[in-house]
């Protein structure tokens, strides 16, 4: 029932104070949402970085393994080169010694250096000079020595001296040398 001359004003709960409150609440929620989105983005970036770093780490580990292999290989090569150098030095000394061993009365016409042997061709005035002055030192160096003589018209002998070093024994010697090197490194 209507009693008043006028109608009451429309009432709303959204007063000016409440509107202000909602505006501030809205701004706060918006800022929180922005912060949350920023943190999500940073989290995503961080996880991506972690994945990248993991991948790099795995790659570096593989590289390190490869490098270790290469180092091992190079060390082996180094050992081999040292071995070859030693062999060469030994060979050089042997050849020098060989030529030093050859007496003046024996003439060498040809010398063949094999991997594990030495073949000498030459002329000797007689067999004794050869046996005493050349074969004896050769036997001290090589493990197996074979000699063949062919008489010449002037009474001298052409000879072929075939000398072999036993491979297994040489390897054993090299291994012994290497082992002694390793022991020295470990001790240092």
């Amino acid at each position: 029932m209507r009693y008043s001359y006028i109608k009451p004003r429309r009432k709303s709960i959204f007063t000016a104070e409440l509107q202000l409150l909602f505006v501030f609440f809205g701004i706060t929620v918006f800022m929180l949402f922005l912060t949350y989105a920023f943190l999500l983005f940073k989290d995503y970036r961080f996880s991506q970085d972690v994945k990248d770093i993991d991948t790099k780490r795995v790659a570096l580990n593989i590289n390190i393994a490869n490098m270790k292999k290469q180092i091992t290989f190079i060390e082996k090569e180094n050992l081999l080169s040292e071995r070859i150098y030693t062999q060469n030095m030994v060979l050089k000394d042997s050849i020098t010694n060989l030529f030093d061993l050859v007496p003046q009365r024996i003439t060498l016409s040809e010398a063949k250096l094999l991997k594990n042997g030495l073949i000498l061709y030459g002329i000797t005035p007689n067999k004794d000079i050869y046996n005493f002055m050349l074969q004896a030192p050769l036997r001290s160096i090589f493990h197996k020595t074979y000699s063949s003589f062919y008489p010449l018209k002037n009474g001298w002998f052409r000879f072929v001296s075939t000398n072999y070093i036993d491979d297994n024994e040489v390897d054993d010697e090299i291994d012994n040398i290497l082992n002694t090197d390793d022991e020295v490194k470990n001790e240092s």
Partner: protein
Amino acid sequence: MLSRFFESLYHKVFVNIVVLRSKTIVLIETVGNNGIMENIEESFNTTSLDDNMYNFISSYTNESPFYYVSLLDKTLSQGASPTCEKAQMDNYFDRSLSQYTCYHNRWVYYTSKVDIHSLQKEYSRVGVDFIFSPFVVLSQFFKDKIDTNMAMFILVEDTFVTLCIFDNSELLYAKHLDMEHYKGDDELLMEDQESNEIELDLAIDGDMNLEEIDADELDNLGDIEDLDSLDDLDEFSDAKDIEEELQENLEEMPVHEVDSFNEDYQRFLLIQGALNDFYKNDKHASQFIETVYIADGVGISGDLKRYLEEEMFLNVYIRNMDINVEICELAKAELK
């Protein structure tokens, strides 16, 4: 639906403003879901909305967006007429200039649109939701009596008297009477009486020259003597007794009671004039009034009742009323 839900979350604040002659009474009633929570009444020594009143009202209206400000219309241009048919309304008031509302499709109360706008403008700082007519307040207050009686119903307030005559809820006559407006005539009347008395005293005290008195005046005196001899004129003697009694009462009463007495006498004269108008005016369906119900919103003395009983032979029943509370009830009823 949603607004109902929000409304249930807040309590309602009813602000009821009644402007008296020199002060304003503001009643604040806070109503929650479980009934009345708070009821505060404050009086302000102003008749307009000043800062003190505004701050007082704001302190309560700020608590809830659902607050309703109610005013009582006290303007002079208001009235009520016994019909709700627009064609017949024109016989009583100008519809184009008036704001009117039908009461239960039986009678209509109206007031000036300009006055409504000026009231809304005056209280625009707090806003106005309801403006109630004193006729509605009176009708609601005596609802139980109006429906079953043929009687006169009067709302007595500080500065006005609202008067209705109902015959079993059918409005016969309605009048809104302003005491301040009437006061001017009354004072003039009193002044005339006083000046006559002074002249009479001077005439008695001073030397009276009988030769200067005209024959016509002597005739008049003779008429007065005739009147004095008419001892069987009861009404005249009663009136004289009342005047003497009034004079005695005036001398004995303190100042504020004298004011109250004057006001009650003015009210009596207003009611008497209105009732005469009802009886004499052919526009109204005139019926003899035996009973009067008075809603006392100001605290009238027993004099008014006595005048009405002794002078107009009416059966007077007085019911005390807090007009602010009634306005608040009307505001609640309108929101239901």
